[in-house]
Symmetry: C2
Subunit: 196 residues, 2 copies
Amino acid sequence: MELGLLYSGGKDSTLAALLLEDFYEVTLVTAHFGLTDDWEYAQRAAEAVGFAHERLELEEVVAHDAVERMVADGFPRNGIQAVHEHALEELASARFDAIADGTRRDDRVPSVSRAQAQSLEDRHDVDYISPLAGFGRGAVDRLVEDALDVTVGPSEDIPRADYEAELRPLLREEYGEDAVGDVFPAHDQTYVEGPR
Amino acid sequence: MELGLLYSGGKDSTLAALLLEDFYEVTLVTAHFGLTDDWEYAQRAAEAVGFAHERLELEEVVAHDAVERMVADGFPRNGIQAVHEHALEELASARFDAIADGTRRDDRVPSVSRAQAQSLEDRHDVDYISPLAGFGRGAVDRLVEDALDVTVGPSEDIPRADYEAELRPLLREEYGEDAVGDVFPAHDQTYVEGPR
């Protein structure tokens, strides 16, 4: 069975890939708006851990709506959630038998409820799988420590291809540098260099 | 890391074991009250799929409370849930670094909420993992079809070691044959014969 996994090059989506690889033909899929080349970081991480990689083009209007929402809210949560839901819809419309993401049990965003999962499956005749949904942060960190070589650092310095990486420049361009700091408080991210 | 997985010999807990085996030293653990020898079915299934197996003795008073609750309710849900929570508490108190079960995304019972999972982890300094929490029924069925040789049949005919198997005779003994039919409507179960 062919499975497409939404992939940022971070530890969660990489671990999700490792959990599924014995059971599916896994392709790592980086969703992006074509606004930056950050998807290349995800491609490099995918190669380092030995998976096939593809890009999935999202609709640019979704990015504009997301940053507008973030600025109005003063925090990124709802904007990120909207982008993730759009990415899942697009991925579900692609050729895969099953689709997946790296959302963890303790993630507040993005998150996919049981009802959303069921709706996605019914409308697109696809299985939606969140292999880390039953793993807490501690368990994920311990598995990553065992399995992967990762770099950790401040969000703005770590090369990666998550939604934030591509929405930051758009936010800066449309609302100015201060808006970026207002919406995204300082936090750490990880990038997967390869297997340990 | 040593992981103990609550194991009935059914397809869900067997698939959970296969998902975790590359990441943990997995022991399949069958919780039982010592009322029947049905745990032996789980031991045999565990051998067939190549995992270490252990028994975990539960407190008999929990079984009596569970059947009392089932008869009062007229359905098994709350009684089964109480037994599963007791089993997780006992397993979390054992020697393992991580504990797990085979609960699926769509399971109504047993189910472990995010708050219950966090509480179990904090109180026992253990990781609690539900590897199938991010898999719906369709995905599980397709993976089982690929990976396992299973027997399917009416609940009362299928050899297995889930809570129902051990609570049925207790229910019969304490409340009579009619109570069994009242509490457990006819449904199918699976037993894992081995890998495919």
